[in-house]
């Protein structure tokens, strides 16, 4: 018994001493900044930064001058912290939010081909003859996106439309991955003008099948009128290049179906009407003179 304790104890001591000596002798200098940044990062190891883990990203920041704002879950607070460690200026990352590119609102507004009574998820519904709704590109309306959202950012209003709360949305891409029709795009929160249709059907067809009557019919009006050439026709669908978009709202004005969303559309229309009235009044005044 005592022999066992002595032998095992001696063995442990020997190994311990050996490792202690080895750690001194084979000591490798590691930049303490790497450890500090690793601790500042959220340790989610989510890979959103493009590195295999938080530690790898921390190493890339210190060793290869990687940008500081790549950590999506950490947000601005973490960027600030890292910047303080690195002695650099904090440049907050562009906040991104999800945009659902369909206005039909799924099952509530859409015209059906058949009555679907299966499991109430989009993934299950799409398996049966490509989904019950007539438009084979649009929202199915079984809320896979809302149930995938961990931040409770997607709610459904009384018309069955999915509303994305821009404050709560973190741009984590979970909903975009959950949508079997790939209707959700993650765009910069600064961008306000969106083309809210994903139908590649020909104009007449998409106009007929859209539950909300706001389909892109591929008329190319927006493409012609866009001052920055930010819109391109891709297979009967207008696609907006967000990098070029200046949010002038002209496309939303000219769109005959209302497929393009501009939050300032009404204000702009009002201003234009006022300007018109003024011009008319001025013309009248000139005539009277």
């Amino acid at each position: 018994m005592i022999g066992a304790i002595i032998i095992l104890g001696a063995l442990g001591l020997l190994y311990g001493l050996g490792l202690a000596v080895a750690s001194k002798k084979f000591h490798v200098e590691i930049d303490p900044k790497i450890e500090a940044i690793t601790e500042a990062l959220p340790s989610a190891n989510c890979g959103a930064c493009g590195y295999p883990g938080c530690a790898a990203y921390a190493e890339a920041i210190v060793m290869h001058n990687e940008e500081l704002n790549k950590c999506a879950p950490g947000g601005a607070a973490v960027v600030k912290e890292i910047a303080a460690i690195m002695g650099k200026e904090a440049v907050a990352a562009d906040k991104k939010v999800a945009v659902i590119k369909c206005q039909s609102g799924g099952k509530n507004n859409t015209i059906f081909r058949y009555e679907y009574q299966g499991v109430t998820t989009c993934k299950a519904a799409i398996l049966i003859n490509n989904g019950p709704n007539l438009c084979s590109w649009g929202c199915l309306g079984y809320n896979d996106c809302a149930s995938a959202c961990k931040f409770d950012a997607i709610s459904i209003d009384e018309n069955g439309m999915r509303i994305i709360d821009k404050e709560k949305c973190t741009g984590c891409v979970a909903c975009a991955k959950a949508c079997p029709r790939n209707l959700i795009e993650i765009v910069s929160a600064k961008k306000r003008v969106h083309i809210l249709c994903s139908s590649h059907d020909k104009g007449a067809e998409s106009r007929k099948v859209c539950g909300n009557k706001t389909a892109c019919i591929g008329c190319s009006m927006c493409v012609k009128k866009c001052p920055k050439a930010a819109i391109e026709m891709k297979d009967n669908l207008a696609v907006l290049n967000y990098d070029l978009c200046i949010m002038c709202g002209i496309c939303a004005d000219v769109c005959p179906t209302g497929a393009i969303f501009d939050p300032l559309k009404e204000i702009r229309a009002k201003k234009r009407a006022e300007a018109k009235l003024k011009a008319e009044a001025a013309a009248k005044a000139a005539e009277e003179k």
């Binding site: 022999g3 063995l11 190994y15 002798k25 084979f26 000591h27």
Partner: protein
């Protein structure tokens, strides 16, 4: 039997017949976990070969000169684990200092191996089979080689699977398990070998 024949027999048995993964079912965690890419599989395999050989050497010495003379065979497991853990730690330090490039490719896998049952398994089996010192070292080396072989085979298969059309429900782990089962069946064929 000449020495060369003995070594050859040992090698064939350790690599194919008594393969650690496919017939003893030890070290299944890295077999599934680190077999997604050939590069990392190779890194892991090399680390396992190295650690198994070293562990076989040291645990045999511990058993022969420490545990047996004092009749402490019942402490085998804990003494071996202690030895393997410190050994791996030591090796990690040495590699980090002397060969940073090797450390980068091996580094992640070394701590993983510390508590790998295959390493402890080879140490204990060496004693059970009654190998002499050289036999224990060679058995460790060849067992590690066998592990690396199946790990590489698996990684190659899984890299090809990435590009092939697999039914949605079978993608990822399920198909990997099916393949692991098929490989185990194939390796069962070696058990008929006789020398």
């Amino acid at each position: 039997m000449s020495f060369i024949t003995q070594v050859f027999t040992l090698a064939v048995f350790a690599v194919f017949v008594n393969n650690f993964v496919l017939s003893k079912f030890l070290g299944l965690c890295p077999y599934i976990g680190v077999s997604k890419k050939i590069d990392s599989a190779l890194g892991m395999g090399m680390a396992v070969i190295f650690v198994m050989t070293m562990a076989s050497t040291f645990t045999w010495l511990i058993q022969e000169y420490l545990l047996l003379p004092y009749h402490l065979e019942y402490l085998q497991t804990i003494a071996f684990i202690l030895t393997i853990a410190s050994l791996v730690q030591f090796v990690e330090m040495v590699i980090q200092k002397t060969a940073p490039a090797l450390y980068k490719s091996l580094g992640v896998f070394l701590p993983l191996i510390t508590t790998n049952c295959a390493v402890l398994g080879v140490s204990i089996l060496n004693i059970q089979e009654g190998y002499n010192f050289l036999g224990a070292i060679l058995n460790g080396l060849f067992s590690g080689t066998g592990f690396t072989l199946v790990l590489l085979l698996m990684a190659g298969l899984r890299e090809r699977l990435e590009k092939s059309e697999v039914p949605e429900a079978m993608k990822g782990m399920p198909i990997a398990f099916v393949i692991a089962g098929c490989m185990a069946l194939a390796f069962l064929g070696f058990s008929g070998l006789n020398f």
